[in-house]
């Protein structure tokens, strides 16, 4: 392991630059250091103007996502030592496909808008009062959606998905996985509402199953799996509607009840 390593960090100042450039910093390598520690070292000791997001430094807040050598990573969960071979340069860039505000900070309002669109909250059949007691759920019912509930909105999956880059309207992996998280919840009755939004070319049908979202997900959410399972369900619903048109009435009632 080398004693120091070169970080090649993307810099962009909206006041000064027409487009991003790179600046190199030499940082020490400690066994326990993650990339975030190296960024903090640069900000503390070398250049205080370096701008990046971070908060919890323990892989739960989802704010420190960056590109490390072209791979979307959480900077708090990526060890510097795994890149520290002699003469290695580690390239650090803001998450791909997002507009860049400054240096490594990306603009998230588009993502947040898409997330809100899929209604990622429990839509119960009817509003119950506290006196009605708790919603009971079996371990199996919990298991159904638990994996998708681990999403921390870090948007690494967006930076990994070429469809996000090529089609700005695509709702994207995390938002669809979170829609599935609520669809699969036994307490939720909002599937019809979400499907009306997501069974669309900008929703699940926009996904070409590249599978990179699942590979880069730091919380093992498997958004690609969620989207494919959603596609199967939407296709089966469509076939059911075709074979049993009288079922439409019931679906309509469900939708109205949910709304």
């Amino acid at each position: 392991m080398a004693d120091t390593i070169i970080l090649e960090i993307a810099r962009y100042s909206p006041e000064r630059d027409a487009e991003p450039g790179f600046q190199r910093f030499e940082v020490p390598v400690h066994k326990e250091w993650v990339i975030l520690d190296a960024l903090n070292h640069v900000k503390d000791k070398i250049d205080g103007s370096l701008t990046y997001r971070w908060s919890c430094r323990m892989g739960i807040c989802g704010s420190c996502g960056i590109m490390v050598n072209g791979e979307p990573k959480l900077s708090c969960a990526t060890f510097l030592s795994s890149y520290a071979h002699n003469g290695n340069v580690v390239r650090v860039e803001p998450l791909r496909y997002f507009p860049i505000v400054r240096d490594l900070v990306t603009e998230l309002s588009d993502f947040l808008g898409k997330l809100k669109k899929v209604k990622p909250w429990l839509i119960p059949k009817e509003e119950l009062s506290l006196s009605d007691g708790e919603f009971l759920q079996t371990p199996e019912q919990l298991e159904d959606y638990k994996q998708f509930s681990m999403c921390i909105n870090c948007t690494l999956c967006y930076a990994a998905c070429p469809v996000v880059g090529l089609d700005p309207k695509f709702v994207g992996p995390a938002a669809i996985a979170l829609a599935q998280r609520y669809n699969k919840d036994s307490r939720d009755r909002g599937t019809q509402e979400r499907t009306a939004i997501l069974a669309h070319p900008d929703g699940i049908w926009g996904c070409t199953f590249v599978g990179e979202c699942t590979r880069v997900c730091p919380k093992h959410v498997d958004p690609a799996g969620a989207i494919q399972q959603y596609k199967i369900k939407a296709a089966l619903d469509w076939v059911k509607g075709l074979l049993m048109p009288w079922g439409d009435k019931k679906r309509e009632e469900d939708r109205n009840a949910a709304a």
Binding site: Y12, P14, E15, D17, E19, P20, G70, R96, Y97, P99, I100, V101, R102, E107, E140, E143, P162, G165, L166, T208, F209, V210, G211, E212, T214, R215, D222, A224, G225, Q228, Q229, K231, I232
Partner: protein, 141 residues
Amino acid sequence: MQQPKSPLYTEYHPRWYRPRVSVYWWLGQSQYLKFILRELSSVFVAIAVVMTLLQLRALRGGPEAYARFQHQLQTPLVITVSVISLFFVVFHTITWFNLTPRAMTVRLRGKRIPEWLIAAPNYAAWVVVSGAVSWLVLRWH
């Protein structure tokens, strides 16, 4: 004062840099290249299907037409296309079989069955069907 349609750049309203996606985005990373090859493989699957349909048509045309078809198959161009098609059809099959566990979650007595158990029957069916077809072809030869 009239408000500008899009908010202009000020110190407090920074100008975002919007990176453009290169036309060659799929060349930068091996996983992306693999994805594009997987999508491209559909073209070769279609070629293989068309070849089979042409073969059936030749078969219906009688022994002479079939001999002519077989003769055409032996030209270097058709052999090259067939070899490339074979590679892509195998690639297509393997990549999609490996992806089936992503799209299917099968539960047995409340437990999710392991991924390999979903992919395995696909491969088993592939071997069985290929074996049956080879047996038929070789028996008639």
